[in-house]
Amino acid sequence: MQEKALSTHRLSLLNLQRKPFRTWALIAVVAVLSFVLFGGSVMTMSMENGIAGLEDRLGADIVVVPEGYDQDFEGVMIQGEPLYFFMDKAVLEQVRSCEAVEVASPQFYLASLNAECCGSSVPIIGFEPETDFTVQPWIVEQYSKGLKHGEIIVGDDIIAEEDGTVLFFGKNYKIASRLQRTGSGVDVSCYATMDTIADLYVDAKEKGAYFMEGVTYENSISSVMVKVKEGYTLNQALVQIRKATEGKVEIVQTQSMINSVGGSLGGVLSYLYVIAGVFWVLALILLTIVFSVTANERKKEFALFRILGATRKRLSSLILTEAFYISLGGALLGIGLAAMIVFPFSTYIGDQMGIPYLLPDMGQILLILLGSLVLSAIVGPLASAHSAHKISQAETYHTMREGE
């Protein structure tokens, strides 16, 4: 039978195996820490990515919507709520007449029926390709050349039928392109040119969709996306638009809208950072106490090692290695458990929080993984450093004679 050398690593593992309850209890402490660190960091970054994605995607500086419908507009953009509202198309020309306005592009909102595309109602947004600056720049997959009449651009979460179409009001529409993922309501929205929207509007009316009296696709629009001309401030543009429209519309400043979403997010993020910090300090304190107590209990065991020829350095490295194995085991367990929750359930978490939520890319995930692993794995050796030093300095003779 081959005998294995009693190296520091093997001795540490044997010591840990000898006290399974204590080992697993300490692993659990570090696992909780790494769970919070990894899970919290992935969630934090997903929320930040979501807000940044929405900010990029909105594109417009100002959005003009009917009076009292600013919250509904947020609902469409952030949650992808299938809401529609209309105002007189004359507003578009009024906005365009403002000196501070560089581009003003109209949009027309519809909502699909529940039982058709995608299993539930989704927003269908009509846009004007000639003036649009908020939809077309975000096309990532082009399935056909240009957007023709009867074709649709879809958000990343829209699932096509087997023939590459989507069903709206009893008719199939070909998907021409797919938009970049944002983690917001844009992912569940569909976009079409105004002439396709005209067909959809007629079909929607035939299927029983309710539109307020006087609303037609020819004389109504839902919103105007506005880009402010260089050299003009946002406030100047706001004043001019308000004057031109005689204050009969709601003017949404996209930055304020993002700030209001991001503002509530700021609170959540600070809590997450504080909780992660508190857990790290608590784990350090708890492990320091446990290592100190157990090192005290094992004084005679270490003195015996000294008698058997172990150097002082060997004793301290034995304690540090045991602590490192505990931390590494806990870190891997905690990160593994967190990964089993934050990745498969990411859509559910985002939906529950009601804010744009976009998972970090692979590079960011690897960085978070590395950071959490290092922070969790060093907690054990740090906590046991004092005990390791104390044990290595103890006098063997006095330790063995203690209590006599």
């Binding site: 595309c117 299993g119 539930s120 979460d157 699932i159 569940v188 089993m340 498969p344 359930f345 859509t347």
Partner: protein, 132 residues
Amino acid sequence: MKNKYVVGALLLVLGLLIAFGPQSIFPVCEFNPEKPMKCNWMGKAELGVGLVIAVIGVLQMVMDHAKVRQGLSMAAVLLGVLVPLLPLKLIGVCMNVHMRCVTLTRPALIMLGVLTVLVGGLSAFALNKVEK
């Protein structure tokens, strides 16, 4: 000997979660009698599969013969494979990626299926060494 109770208890808990989770803890979409959705049928299928896994868990605790327990563990592995296949391929879930059955039920069942395969597989592997 102690392992048979641990494996049995784990399979029992996993089986019950697979059987009743889609109706309670991680529910599928609400049942609409006019237009029942795929996820409703998938939930019912998981009820059957989960209950069989739970019964295997009980049998693991009752049976003494190692080879019988190994056979039961192998059956648990096969059923564990079936658990994620039902929402992913065989029946499916709703189309809208934001529906509860897609965001919650499906990932939960995939995870429980993987755990069932792991528990059953490790048990079968460990019992391979036992001669009885």
